[in-house]
């Protein structure tokens, strides 16, 4: 791989009062990546983004952009541009003036400004609204202005702070596709901050999951979902059933474990476990059957349906196995009967140990 476009090395940000918003974070972001910083509110993701843009200064550590140390580069001289959560579209300027602003203040020639502004407005499909003032526009349109205003500067890196959080659900889906399309068209590195796992999973090529100022895991969306390293990541990305397990025997490629709820089974893992571990099973990997399923490898237990939540395409079922509630997702793939189960029904819960995961941290 080539040299990373952004290299964050041991960056810590301590606010007055000794609160560490970002704690010893190191991330390398490659050219043309669509990178997401994902985490619950207060995990330090926005602070990290603001440090990349230069609006905050790290307490310690270094940030390199394009190989250059940015320690003494103020935000106006950095090759990054930001789309703010509130969009921050200047209310006293028209759309055109907003987009032209960043070029004007850096002394770009007037005819070039005109050309590039037209191009940028074309790109976000706002050419017909060039003369509008922001207060005559919808939230989605204002966001496009903010996008055009940042992209027209041709930054090396575009920073997006919770870009979809203020939009309604339908618009959010459109914008998600739009952002992915834009990122592919302009070929700029995008770094997006979000607390919404769906947003991160669907758009990003790689995701850094952050928790309490630190990085919990950096991986592709699929790896994060299927191979979470910690309980926090497993629980934060999607839904998961976490079961405490006692380790009976450790082999080279497998372990034998005993869970209170689902009994004893063998499971594949490279991890070295002590005497205890957590077994993670995604709700869609659990199966519900009326009869006891046949299959040597399947782990199976009788259960009672406690609750069924209907979501159209899927139903989320809560199954009671010896007093422990397991969440099971069922595809509603036939029109009759939905999940085919109802509250109070006796049923079998089964899963293939291949689909379960051993977590030690």
């Amino acid at each position: 791989m080539s040299e990373p476009i952004i290299s964050i090395r041991n960056v810590t940000k301590e606010f007055s009062g000794g609160v560490k918003a970002v704690d010893n974070v190191s991330i390398d972001i490659e050219q043309n990546e669509f990178f997401a910083l994902l985490g619950p509110s207060g995990c330090g993701k926005t602070t990290l983004l603001r440090m990349i843009s230069g609006l905050e200064t790290p307490t310690s550590g270094q940030i390199f952009i394009g190989g250059e140390d940015m320690a003494f580069t103020p935000p106006n001289l950095r090759p990054t541009n930001m789309v703010f959560q509130s969009y921050a579209v200047f209310p006293h300027m028209t759309v055109e003036q907003n987009v032209a602003y960043g070029l004007k203040v850096t002394g770009v020639a007037p005819d070039e400004i005109k050309r590039r502004v037209a191009e940028a407005l074309e790109m976000v499909k706002l050419s017909h609204l060039a003369a509008r003032k922001p207060d005559q526009m919808s939230g989605g349109q204002r966001q496009r202005v903010a996008l055009a205003r940042a992209l027209v500067k041709r930054p090396k890196v575009l920073l997006l702070d919770e870009p979809l959080s203020a939009l309604d659900a339908k618009l959010r889906d459109d914008m998600r596709l739009e952002l992915t399309r834009l990122q592919e068209t302009v070929g700029i590195t995008f770094i997006i901050v979000t607390h919404d796992q769906d947003e991160a999973l669907s758009m990003a090529s790689r995701i850094a999951v952050m928790n309490k100022g630190g990085v919990a895991q950096i991986a592709t969306p699929a790896d994060l979902y299927e191979q979470p390293k910690t309980k926090f990541v497993a629980d934060f990305i999607g839904k998961v059933n976490l079961l405490d397990a006692a380790i009976l025997r450790q082999n080279t490629k497998t372990i034998s474990c005993n869970t209170k709820v689902l009994g004893k089974f063998d499971i594949d893992t490279d991890k070295t476990c002590g005497s205890e571990a957590t077994i993670a099973i995604r709700p869609e990997k659990l199966k519900l059957t009326v009869k006891k399923p046949i299959g040597a490898k399947l782990v199976c237990k009788p259960a009672i349906i406690k609750d069924v939540a209907y979501y159209g395409d899927t139903s989320h079922v809560i199954a009671d196995v010896d007093g422990v509630m397991l969440e099971v997702n069922v595809q509603n793939d036939s029109r009759t009967g939905g999940a085919g189960v109802e509250r109070g029904q006796k049923i079998f819960v089964s899963f293939n140990p291949h689909d379960a995961l051993v977590l030690t941290e």
């Binding site: 106006n76 990054t80 703010f84 921050a88 200047f90 209310p91 850096t106």
Partner: protein, 290 residues
Amino acid sequence: MDDWKDFRRVFWTLASPGTVWMLVFFIIPMAFLFVLSFSSKAVVDGETSTTAYNYFSTLGNYVAAGGENYLILLWRAIWTSALATAICLALAYPLAMAVCFAPARWRPLLLLLLILPFWINLLIRTYALYSIFRSTGVVNQTLGVLGLGPFEMLNNTTAVVMGLVYVYLPFMVLPLYSTIEKLDRSFLEASLDLGATQATTFLRVTWPLTLPGIITGIILVFIPCLGTFLTSDILGGPNNWNIGNAIQNQFLEANNWPFGAALSFILVYATSIALLLQWLVARRSKGVDA
């Protein structure tokens, strides 16, 4: 808000006390003064009456008020007020910003310090200034110890302007503070992020977005300055009288109410013109709430 038409009784109940007050103590007296400014004192039994007037009998008061002597006083009021307002703005803007950027727990205290002078009567404060700066005042005595002076620091236009700035500075800071405080910081951050320097950001983003506060501050300072008579009298002396002193003189000393009324209304017209200009400017910079 609900439409007042749907709640007429509530509307009138709430609106009446203030309306009646304004009618009795503002509209009626001003109307009376307006009439008076076109009137002359009546002559009863060969003597000029002090209470009876020939209403709407003359334009003479305005003709006299338009005389050179009084135009000089009006002009002096306008330019000293303008100067005082400009100095107030120059001092108040950074001050208001400083208060906004101060830690949140300090802000109430800083604002309190700012309005502290209002707890003391204006007359007393002005005399206090007088006693500090007069030729035998504290400043000159201190300089005298060092072998300097005494300097004449009062009875000149500078003293009047400084006095006005001192009195009206809080009226400029408070509206500025409230607009700057409401200003979304992300506008400034966006400007920096887009490549503008701090200075450019101030000129192209901060200033235009705080223009409503600036205009309110200018109105709150300029208009009272225009009618001032206390400051110009005590700190400026007779040579620095302006239109306010002339009005005071006509009402209280010369007892020529019609002429005083005409002078007053000239001041009202000047103020109206200033407000009209403000409205025109505000209309041009639409999109920013005035």
